[in-house]
């Protein structure tokens, strides 16, 4: 059986700076691959090339055996890949319900006319966020007014709410409180059990070791090494991050 996701020779140049050079890896169904690496190593750039936000300078991505590269974010999402972006990518002027359903809004029909079902979406959002341990005081307020952690919870909720085959998470717990971080870790385990593939980016070593089936360390745009958690330890991972050769 071939891998769920295959990343082949990805490269990305911004002006004169090569942020990512020749990155290769695979993700299998039900597997959590952690992308680790220092700030500016190129992690977010790699996942944006997968999710369709950036076009790679070189290289291809295959998903379920099909070429994914060249697709728009829309195409990638429709193919079954959900992404939690590091910048959250929320519409600040909309409420949590609309952000949760953005692009896939719920509607109801009244006298032959289709109307957005704002109330239902709000209710659903409150529920999904409660599952993450977050209660929003006013569910009809725009997300601009929410706290950092509450906002991040919406971005997470949005990605896990759909039956995706692969979920990409770029530092999903960075702004979360302690209990919420634990919820997300539990969530990752549940997703894996359901056969969902996961790419997780994190700077938190305990989380990395707890979640990862494989750890891929990026250093200055190249893969510095790939380890199974059982085979390695904090120090080695940090050393790889700093650019020690594998």
């Amino acid at each position: 059986m071939s891998a769920l996701l295959q990343v082949k020779g990805l490269k990305k140049r911004f002006g004169g700076n090569e942020a990512v050079s020749n990155v290769n890896f695979e993700v299998n169904a039900g597997e959590c691959v952690v992308l680790a690496g220092d700030n500016g190593a190129g992690k977010s750039t790699v996942i944006k090339m997968i999710s369709g936000v950036y076009t790679p300078t070189e290289g291809e991505v295959y998903f379920d055996g099909n070429l994914l590269t060249g697709q728009s974010p829309e195409g990638v999402r429709n193919a079954g890949i959900e992404t939690i972006y590091q910048d959250l990518s929320l519409a600040d002027n909309l409420d949590p319900g609309l952000n949760l359903y953005l692009g896939r809004e719920k509607t109801k029909s009244v006298m032959g006319f289709t109307f957005l079902d704002r109330a239902q979406m709000r209710k659903d959002a409150a529920e999904v966020m409660k599952g993450l341990g977050i209660v929003v005081p006013d569910p009809s307020a725009p997300v601009r007014d929410l706290s950092g952690g509450q906002r991040q919870a919406i971005a997470i909720a949005r990605a896990i709410h759909w039956k995706a085959k692969l979920v990409i998470m770029d530092e999903p717990t960075a702004a979360l409180g302690v209990p919420e971080q634990r919820e997300v870790m539990a969530l990752i385990h549940r997703l894996k059990e359901q056969g969902v593939g996961i790419i997780l980016i994190s700077h938190n070593l305990p989380d990395i070791f707890a979640a990862a089936d494989r750890i891929i360390v990026l250093a200055r745009g190249v893969v510095g090494g790939e380890r199974r958690p059982a085979e390695t330890n904090d120090e080695e991972i940090v050393r790889l991050m700093m650019g020690a050769t594998a």
Partner: protein
């Protein structure tokens, strides 16, 4: 730049939100009291006055409705003034071509062709902004020139006069006492309100105005969305042109141009912002009515013309201040 923002929710909520209502009521009250005390007559309780104001606001509104959507999306459409003119001229030309005995059918055909011409401008705008990434200010300023030139060239001059009772009835007739231009504006306002508030399209428009990445990454085809927005803007402006030709029995290339600034002002008085992501149709409707009321009311009070310029300026500022103070009260901003 962070201001209290308005996004479409329910009709009731929008109504309550829009304190501009209050201001509108205030200025209407002012003019009525003035009429009673100073002139011993009435401002408000005369069908003719109300009809005139309503028709004037509807002409502004027809440009402002589609524009509201474009501005909510964080863009601008400067071409609508001359899109109105193009559609007015094209409608007039088709009626003229159909000959003096052209009946209702010819007029309807003429209207369709007129709106068709407007749609072409909208498509070009959308294509420039969406596909070629031209900033909307420049792209629509470009099509402003092109639409203007095109209208003048096809008209072979500035105006194309027609004789058609059907067209004239469309511009000057009424439906149960409501002037047809007003009926048209109401129908389009309801339609635009529905679009902006109750549909996916509307949500995506608000999201686009706030953060393009949010809708793009949520899997929305932003290019298609942009093209639709500019086409809607062109269509409401184009319908404005049809109404113009009907009202004045002439299509004029510059039919909409003098109204453009008022249309933009109506959208902003209605709560939209240059940066996008906010604004409502209800707000725009109130904005257009406020403008029409003060234009009418100041003449009615007999204020000397130069002072009218000053007064209109002041009222526009105060209209927004009233709206601002409400956001302050409700703690929308801190």
């Amino acid at each position: 730049m962070s201001k209290t923002q308005k996004t479409g929710t329910s009709l009731l909520r929008s109504l309550l939100n829009a304190w501009s209502w209050l201001f509108l009521v205030l200025i209407l009250g002012f003019f009525e009291i003035y009429a009673q005390l100073e002139a011993g007559n009435t401002f408000l309780f005369r069908a003719y006055n109300l009809q005139s104001i309503a028709v004037a606001s509807s002409q502004i509104l027809l440009l402002a409705l589609g524009l509201t959507l474009v501005i909510v999306a964080g863009h601008i459409d400067l071409s609508i003034g001359f899109t109105t003119g193009l559609s007015a001229v094209v409608m007039a030309l088709v009626i003229r071509a159909a000959g003096p005995d052209a009946g209702l059918l010819a007029v309807i055909l003429a209207m369709l062709v007129g709106v068709g011409a407007a749609i072409v401008v909208g498509l070009v705008n959308g294509w420039l902004v969406a596909k070629l990434d031209v900033p909307s200010f420049i792209g629509t300023l470009g099509t402003y020139g092109v639409a203007r030139g095109a209208a003048l060239i096809v008209a072979g001059g500035a105006t194309v006069s027609i004789r058609s009772d059907e067209a004239r009835a469309f511009g000057n007739g009424d439906l149960l006492g409501v002037p047809i231009p007003v009926v048209v504006a109401i129908v389009l306002a309801v339609g635009c309100h529905y679009l902006l508030t109750y549909t996916k399209f509307g949500v995506h428009t608000y999201a686009l105005g706030a953060n393009r990445a949010s809708v793009e990454r949520a899997g929305v085809d932003v290019n298609k969305l942009l093209i639709k927005l500019f086409v809607i803007s062109a269509v409401t402006a184009g319908i404005g042109g049809l109404v113009y030709t009907g009202r004045f029995s002439a299509g004029a290339a510059n039919a909409g141009e003098p109204i453009l600034l008022y249309a933009v002002a109506a959208v902003f008085i209605g709560g939209a912002s240059l940066t996008g992501g906010q604004g409502t149709i209800i707000g725009t409707v109130i904005g257009a009515i406020i403008i029409a009321v003060i234009q009418f009311g100041l003449v009615f009070t007999g204020l000397p013309p130069y002072w009218q310029f000053v007064a209109v300026g002041l009222v526009i500022i105060v209209a927004v201040l009233v709206d601002q103070s409400k956001s302050k009260l409700t703690g929308g901003r801190v």
